[in-house]
């Protein structure tokens, strides 16, 4: 193996599993340490830098960071990263003076943002301080996109939502409500914009074309439209018996909303079995905790309507088997009628671009979607960018935010006459955390506590009112307990080969058998002859330069390091140091970070 280049930001970034897993590369361990220090405002602002909506995301994020958390490889459950984010948002102080401000002097460029979801809002957040004029067109009477219209208030209180949207709007966005863009051509021709960002989401709920659908129409609802109607007060009740078709996150919001609108016999109907459910595990738990039944292997066959009234639905009872091509095929075992007063369809969302003319230079590809560059977010028409769910179909808020950041970089470069393809690099800082002989600037003592459980509002009170937030959040005691579970993966074990005297101390002390000194070889083969076989090839294997006394190599399997710092504490020569790695994300209009420099590094000599 070649010696690992730890000065490439990707190397240490990947060790910070949560940050690597977060689409916006939120500096999770640092914000958790700030919470541990009681610095909620600082923690909130650190979050906001990358993910823009800490209060919203602290309740609703899809949490791609949690399943990849290092803790899941040491024990079962990840650090409650998301819920700690909410703690920072709930307990922060006044931040008005810390928020970015629109530039006083404008740069003369006008940007149109179509839709006011998280993607467009992020673009505005990043461009306003640079002097751009941002004009949002929103079809609905309020801003926020699906965060507002679809995520129910019992998961995301309106106050939290509006506060964070307003932080951006109040910077000086020009927003036109109830203004649906019906023709992109017209906007381009007559709007006088230097660039256009399409952040219109995936606004069309999928239909279920089975017999009886038309006849039953009065009591069959498209999930995302139905949730939107609830939000805007057009719907405030539902029948007692409700069937929700589909078992994704939308279905979870539909069934839980039904429970609050008067439904008391709610069934979520899944075509497949539990391992195939699209909903996040915690949403399934929350739904079941509200006495909602989830039925598996029920495939909708028809709606049953009598005398113009919906009576219920017939389902095929099925069983699934893999065929030769490895695809799952169903086998019908029987059928079953289930009574219902209302049926809610939550089987997916589609994009819809009837308002983008086909002859204006925007190429369309598969599924009638515009062709969008994965790195620049530009369409084939220069100056027109697409991000969020509109780009490649439904994702989630944090992806929409990251798309927004990247699109803002592109729009800025485009408007400044630079190539959108020159992506600004990430940078890094690396600073020793050494404070004394065996003292570090972080809490390196391993805490074996299991994940802190969330407490919920009393069931009856919760179901009685759509606006009562279900999760209570962590109190101080729970917060103090949970922050200690974080393994500080950003505090890196940084190695200086020429200091090592090959005493074995680090290898002997490592609690998780990460370290080995042995002769070099090919990575696959080296992985087999380490102190513990390094099976997880997703995780990097560090290789040092040749060691001074024996020319062996120090290898470190990054997989299970708990960042306890004991290798550095037991090293007589400080060949190992515990260094805080700070990933420097590029944002629009910023001076580029140094590419490979380990700035402010204090590698001990």
């Amino acid at each position: 193996m070649q010696p690992t280049n730890t000065r490439n930001p990707d190397y240490y970034h990947k060790v910070v599993d949560c940050q690597w897993g977060c689409p916006a590369h939120t500096n999770v361990p640092e914000y958790i340490r700030l919470i541990a220090d009681g610095k909620y405002t600082e923690s909130y602002m650190l979050n906001r830098e990358s993910n823009v909506f800490p209060g919203i995301l602290g309740r609703t994020c899809d949490r791609p960071c949690e399943p990849v958390c290092r803790r899941t490889r040491i024990e079962d459950e990840p650090v409650a990263i998301c819920r700690l984010k909410r703690v920072a948002a709930d307990l922060r102080g006044d931040i008005d003076h810390l928020l970015p401000k629109a530039a006083e002097t404008k740069n003369g460029k006008r940007i149109a943002l179509i839709g006011s979801g998280p993607a467009s809002l992020t673009v505005a957040n990043d461009l306003l301080p640079l002097g751009y004029e941002c004009v949002i067109f929103e079809a609905l009477p309020k801003a926020g996109g699906l965060m507002r219209s679809n995520i129910p208030s019992f998961r995301l209180p309106v106050g939290v939502l509006e506060e964070e949207i307003d932080m951006i709007l109040h910077m000086g966005v020009e927003i036109h409500y109830d203004h649906r863009i019906e023709s992109l051509k017209e906007l381009l021709d007559t709007g006088g914009f230097d660039s256009v960002f399409v952040g219109t989401g995936a606004p069309k709920g999928k239909e279920l074309d089975i017999p009886g659908r038309q006849e039953a129409d009065a009591n069959v609802h498209i999930g995302i439209d139905w949730l939107e109607s609830i939000h805007f007060g057009h719907i405030d009740s539902v029948g007692e018996r409700v069937l929700v078709i589909g078992v994704g996150n939308t279905a979870m919001d539909c069934c839980r909303s039904s429970r609050r609108l008067g439904g008391n016999d709610i069934k979520v109907m899944a075509r497949k079995s539990r391992p195939y459910f699209k909903a996040s595990p915690w949403e399934l738990d929350d739904a079941e905790g509200e006495e909602i039944e989830i039925l598996v292997n029920h495939s909708p066959q028809k709606f049953v309507v009598e005398g113009g009234r919906l009576m219920g639905m017939v389902f095929d009872l099925v069983e699934w088997e893999g065929n030769e091509k490895g695809r799952l095929v169903s086998k019908k075992l029987g059928e079953k009628f289930i009574e219902a007063d209302d049926v809610i369809l939550a089987i997916g969302q589609d994009n819809a671009f009837p308002w983008i003319e086909k002859d204006i230079g925007i190429e369309f590809g598969d599924w009638d979607m515009p062709v969008v560059d994965r790195a620049t977010f530009m369409t084939t028409l220069e100056g027109v960018f697409v991000g969020g769910d509109a780009a490649w179909g439904p994702e989630n808020i944090i992806w929409a935010v990251e798309h927004g950041h990247q699109a803002a970089i592109s729009i800025h470069q485009y408007c400044q006459g630079e190539s959108v393809n020159d992506r600004p690099p990430q940078g890094m800082n690396l600073v020793s955390t050494k404070m004394g002989l065996h003292e570090w600037r972080y809490s390196n003592d391993y805490d074996a506590n299991l994940r802190t459980e969330m407490r919920y509002e009393d069931l009856e009170a919760r179901l009685a009112d759509m606006f009562v937030e279900a999760e209570l959040g962590f109190d101080l005691k729970e917060t103090v307990r949970e922050v200690e579970r974080c393994l500080n993966c950003d505090i890196q074990t940084d190695f200086t080969a020429n200091l090592c005297i090959e005493c074995d101390a680090c290898i002997d002390v490592c609690p998780t058998h990460c370290l080995t000194m042995t002769h070099n070889g090919e990575e696959d083969e080296v992985r087999q002859r380490l102190t513990a076989v390094a099976e997880n090839t997703e995780q990097a294997l560090f290789a040092s330069e040749a060691l001074p006394q024996t020319a062996r190599i120090m290898f470190k399997d990054e997989d299970l390091c708990v960042h306890c710092g004991l290798c550095a504490e037991r090293c007589p020569t400080a060949a190992w140091d515990m260094m805080q790695f700070d990933l420097l994300n590029p944002y629009a209009g910023q001076e580029p970070w140094p590419t490979t420099a380990a700035t402010a590094s204090t590698t001990s000599a």
């Binding site: 003592d445 005493c503 074995d504 101390a505 609690p511 006394q549």
Partner: protein, 351 residues
Amino acid sequence: MSYITKPSARHPRLPSNAVGLTVRDYEGSMSTLCAGCGHDSVTAALVQAFFELDIEPHRVAKLSGIGCSSKTPAYFVSEAHGFNSVHGRMPAIAAGANAANRDLLYVGISGDGDSLSIGLGQFCHAIRRNVNMLYVLENNGVYGLTKGQFSASADIGTTSKRGEVNEQEPIDPVNLALSLGATFVARSFSGDKAQLVPILKAGLAHNGFAFVDVISPCVTFNDHEGSTKSYAYTRDNMHEVIETDFVPLRAEIKTDYADGSVQAITMHDGSVVKLRKVTEQYDPNDRSGVVDYLSETRSRGEIATGLLFLEAAGADMHGFQGTVDQPLVDIPYETLCPGSAALDQLQAEWR
């Protein structure tokens, strides 16, 4: 000294041995020795050896005297029995304990000061008695605990950290052990676990006094240039004479070396120690040949390592004394001490 305890987090795929324990179950408390001390590596080698031999912790008794080396029993097999004696007196305690309960596995850990300076007499008699134990001498050439004075194993010409030169003849514990009839004599290096672990395992299996002299650098007081017990010096000058492989009883012996370069020695418990000569003409069963060979290598400035001498058969302390097979502790007190009537009767027989 580290302030935190070693994380309870473990590698999730750590193998278990025949008694259901992982290697981490053989650890002790966190070391308070200097970071980088060779003694900690010897500790880690012992942990590995106990794990690989499937030893039940409660069958082990750890004994030591005084010194940094003598502190190390605290850092392995925390579930074992232990006794920390007066400086240099561990051999007597070990002999006494072994006399009372011959069923335990005795592991004595000592230093060059503990065994060769203050405790030299004790050390010699434990060898003569062939007390059944593993005796590890963590040899760093200095009194580490009292801040680095030369010990009796300091070589002529080696310098202290402040630059003084040692002019007194050293005691070579390997030589001493051979001359006193030791039946298992080895030398190794804390920085070479591949060599040390099989030697420790063989020593634990040996019936009798198994002596292992481990060069174990004192990183704080004796790891400088000019020292003959530093990491760098030891690495440059050590010369492996014999490669040791330990084959436990239940494992099948696979290789047969037709060329005669490997000698398989069956131990008291049925396990096999395989010795592969690295050096032609070296015979680990020929006591006087080994002594000659070692004096030759020493004059060349080489540190000969490996399981240097082994005589698996022969009587240990209990054999010499003709004691009963049953450990004395298991014999009811009335039987061990039948009372004054029985004494009277005995004396009557002699009148």
